[in-house]
């Protein structure tokens, strides 16, 4: 179980190789990488995105990510798990976040990976501000679909996120 919050980009291949290296009980390794798109999401009227900046809440971010990861390890039998989340300024094509889960069996790895990214989207204190070409920064609004995705995993049924 590892959580890292950092400004620098990460090397996807190196992170994944390190996660499974030397553990021959691992039968499946699932991962998800979120990347900066060059198209602003709904509300930005499709303006080309020049860059985005992620603000976060140092201290609480790490705490929440560690808790989310511990919850995934409680729900699924994982051999290894990793969350790397960046903050600061990023341009289109750059990776923002990596979640990865390794397990003896593929289903556990895949489900835990989906769980982590869904929860992180609604629980981890990050806020995006987007710079359009020539325009000024615009704070991205939260999406109901993210709340719905996270609510799927609620153990006492869908409910409003805190």
């Amino acid at each position: 179980m590892t959580v890292r919050v950092q400004r620098e980009a990460f090397d996807l291949g190196r992170e994944l190789d390190a996660l499974s290296a030397g553990n021959h009980a691992i039968g499946g390794l699932a991962s998800f990488v979120g990347l900066v798109r060059d198209v602003a999401p709904p509300g930005g009227e499709g303006a080309a995105l020049a860059a985005m900046t992620l603000e976060h809440y140092p201290g609480m971010t790490e705490k929440m990510l560690e808790r989310i990861e511990a919850e995934a390890n409680r729900r699924w039998e994982l051999e290894a798990s990793l969350i790397v989340h960046r903050y600061g300024r990023m341009e289109p094509g750059e990776p923002i976040v990596l979640v990865a889960c390794a397990s003896a069996h593929r289903q556990a790895a895949l489900e835990a990976c989906q769980f982590l990214i869904d929860w992180l989207k609604t629980k981890a204190p990050f806020w995006k501000v987007e710079e359009s070409d020539g325009g000024e920064g615009r704070w991205v609004e939260a999406r109901d679909s993210d709340e719905a995705a996270a609510a799927r995993w609620s153990e006492d049924g869908p409910k409003a996120a805190e």
Binding site: K121, F126, W127, E141
Partner: protein, 84 residues
């Protein structure tokens, strides 16, 4: 004194990312804090005009309206998160 933190667009309205504030005696819960803050000035009123968009964390834990706040707490106000 409590330490108040503001993130994302709330910070633009309050004009500060962080401040030490003496909580008045009638402010003992998150809901009471949110009701009192707008009285501190037009920027605060603007930041808090839509309470549905405000999330609160007390000592780095998500808090509900009825949760207590007190001197010594770190209280963060922010919009719904948009990371990932």
């Amino acid at each position: 004194m409590a330490r108040l933190l503001y993130f994302a667009w709330l910070k633009s309205h309050t004009g500060t990312a962080e401040e030490e504030v003496a909580l008045p005696q009638e402010v003992t819960t998150v809901a009471e804090l949110l009701a009192w803050l707008p009285s501190r000035g037009p920027g605060y009123a603007k930041a808090l005009e839509n309470p549905k968009l405000i999330r609160v964390a007390v000592n780095q834990e998500y808090a509900r309206p009825g949760d207590p706040v007190a001197a010594g707490d770190e209280i963060a106000l922010f919009p719904p998160v948009t990371g990932g």
